[in-house]
């Protein structure tokens, strides 16, 4: 456990050194300032659209951040050659993967909290009100999505270089975000083999739509029941463990040769 935490700490130091999420925070602040400075006929108290667009951008930014951090951690060690000294230490490959995932997930989750804080602070400054406990549930479920995306990126990066891993993770998660929730609708129009293939994808790919509480937050529908909330978290944990497990299976027998890693 301590070794896993140590690996996670090193990930934190690396990301802070690269100033990745400072750039995203600045972008987010600029976006919100631009939105709020728009004068919609001078109608006072109109803030929901600011929060809505701000939350949507938070999802997009954290998605990008999770993929970019998660997919480069292992290939970076290999391209620098530091993987040899790392594996020479008493750290198992499973601990290495878990540590990298924990570091990436915790960084992006903190960024998520900051994004939400920024969105609701700017909304509150302009007359909006804080929606209550439902925001905490929304952040926790958002962090679950981050966990899945980081795990998927790490899984791909165990066998691919960082660019390929990022591309595949992006394609997989974007499909899950955009296509999977609408598959039941598409199956109604597609028959036979296409319908069967769609159903296969529906059951195979992760369902991110159940983690998205934005509409509930913005329209003040109150907190989700504890049973449903825990079930969704349980599903998120299962998918995360599944991706990390596949990553570990791909990584445990991987051979590293000096001089063959420059492509990373």
């Amino acid at each position: 456990m301590t070794r896993t935490l140590t690996v996670a700490r090193v990930v934190w130091l690396d990301v802070i050194r690269r100033k990745d999420f400072y750039v995203l925070l600045i972008l987010m602040a600029l976006l919100l300032v631009a939105l709020v400075s728009m004068n919609l006929f001078g109608l006072g108290g109109v803030t929901a659209y600011v929060a809505d667009i701000g939350l949507m951008m938070s999802w997009v930014f954290t998605w990008i951040l999770a993929i970019s951090i998660g997919s480069r951690l292992l290939p970076q060690e290999e391209s620098r050659g530091t993987i040899f000294s790392l594996l020479a230490k008493p750290v198992t490959r499973l601990e290495l993967i878990l540590g990298k995932w924990l570091g990436a997930w915790s960084i992006v989750s903190v960024a998520t909290v900051l994004f939400y804080g920024l969105v609701f602070a700017v909304t509150a400054l302009h007359g909006g009100r804080f929606p209550g406990w439902i925001v905490l549930q929304a952040i926790v479920l958002h962090a679950m999505v981050v966990a899945i995306v980081c795990a998927a990126a790490l899984m791909f990066s165990t066998r691919l270089n960082s660019d390929a891993a990022a591309t595949l993770t992006g394609a997989l998660t974007a499909t899950s975000f955009l296509l999977v929730p609408r598959i039941p609708e598409f199956v109604a129009q597609a028959g036979g083999l296409r319908g069967g293939l769609l159903l296969f994808l529906y059951n195979l790919l992760p369902h991110f739509e159940i983690f998205d509480l934005r509409m509930r937050v913005l329209h003040d529908y109150g907190a989700v029941s504890a049973a449903t909330f825990m079930m969704v978290i349980g599903y998120g944990l299962l998918v995360t463990i599944g991706f990390l497990g596949l990553g570990w299976i791909g990584y445990r027998g991987k051979q590293f040769t000096r001089g063959s890693l420059s492509g990373y």
């Binding site: 919609l40 109608l43 529906y202 739509e209 509930r216 449903t228």
Partner: protein
């Protein structure tokens, strides 16, 4: 050396002069064509503005239904994920209150900014601004802005005329209805159903204003034109007969158009429930929950 310096000084003066002249010419040039991007934002977004406009329009609809998305026809039901979604997402079919109406207008405003040539969005925004937010002047302002982007659109003129009638400015309404009739049918074919009904509406408003202004002959001519368009509207024959006999007081026109404005706007508030297959439509009230 001094020749070079003199040449350089002249060159600087010439370049400066050319720059100043180009600025002057640029400032006096005619505005850019209608469809060219008018701002840095528009230039940056390009044609994706249309997609964004459509997205913002959908968001307005979603806010109208308080976050509840439209029901879609799905081939599979009651999967584990669908059950969780039902529990997690807003599901009560209810409609926006006055404060939420302001939020809807914000989305429509954004949609209209992204695609100022989509007249339907502008008309919808004007309707919400006037009826739900109570800002008739702002509705007029939005329609005026849309008129700049769509100078020959009869629907914008008609809506402006209706808003002026609401405000009691009959002269301004008359001018707008005249302009609308001149621009009719716009992009639509003259035999298009919507265009024909709109023409009949315009003629009726115009006829009522003629009536109020004491122009009985023009009022009758307008009603006869409607009868040519829709011969089944036989009730207009009684009205024409009344006007021809000179028995009707001129003030009745104002009473009729008030009823007309109200009934048209009530029809605009019709909600099609998508909970059942019958698509029954009804007018929503404050206590309406389905």
């Amino acid at each position: 050396m001094s020749v070079r310096r003199g040449f350089a000084a002249w060159l600087v003066v010439l370049v400066g002069g050319a720059f100043a002249l180009s600025c002057q010419i640029q400032a006096r040039m005619t505005p850019q064509p209608k469809d060219a991007p008018a701002s840095a934002g528009a230039a940056l977004l390009g044609e994706s503005r249309l997609g964004l406009a459509s997205y913002f329009h959908e968001m307005a609809d979603l806010y109208f239904h308080c976050g509840v998305a439209h029901t879609r026809h799905e081939a599979i039901h009651d999967t584990w994920f669908q059950k969780r979604l039902t529990a997690l997402r807003p599901s009560l079919h209810k409609h926006a209150d006055r404060q939420a109406a302001r939020e809807i207008v914000a989305w429509l405003r954004l949609a209209a900014t992204m695609n100022p040539h989509d007249v339907e969005i502008v008309l919808l925004a004007a309707f919400w601004l006037h009826h739900e937010v109570g800002e008739r002047e702002l509705a007029q302002q939005m329609l005026k802005e849309a008129q700049v982007a769509n100078p020959f659109d009869y629907e914008i003129q008609m809506e402006r005329g209706r808003l002026y009638l609401y405000g009691g400015d009959v002269a301004a309404a008359r001018a707008r209805f005249d302009a609308a009739l001149a621009f009719w049918p716009g992009a639509r074919a003259p035999d298009n159903d919507t265009a024909r009904h709109d023409q009949a509406r315009l003629l009726l408003y115009r006829s009522l204003i003629h009536e109020v202004d004491g122009e009985r002959r023009e009022a009758i001519a307008g009603l006869r034109e409607i009868l040519l368009l829709f011969p089944e509207r036989t009730h207009l024959e009684n009205r024409i007969a009344t006007l021809e006999s000179g028995a009707e007081p001129a003030l009745l026109g104002g009473h009729v158009w008030n009823n007309l404005l109200q009934s048209e706007d009530e029809r605009s508030m019709l909600c099609e429930t998508d909970a059942d297959d019958t698509k029954a439509a009804h007018v929503h009230g404050e206590d309406c929950r389905h």
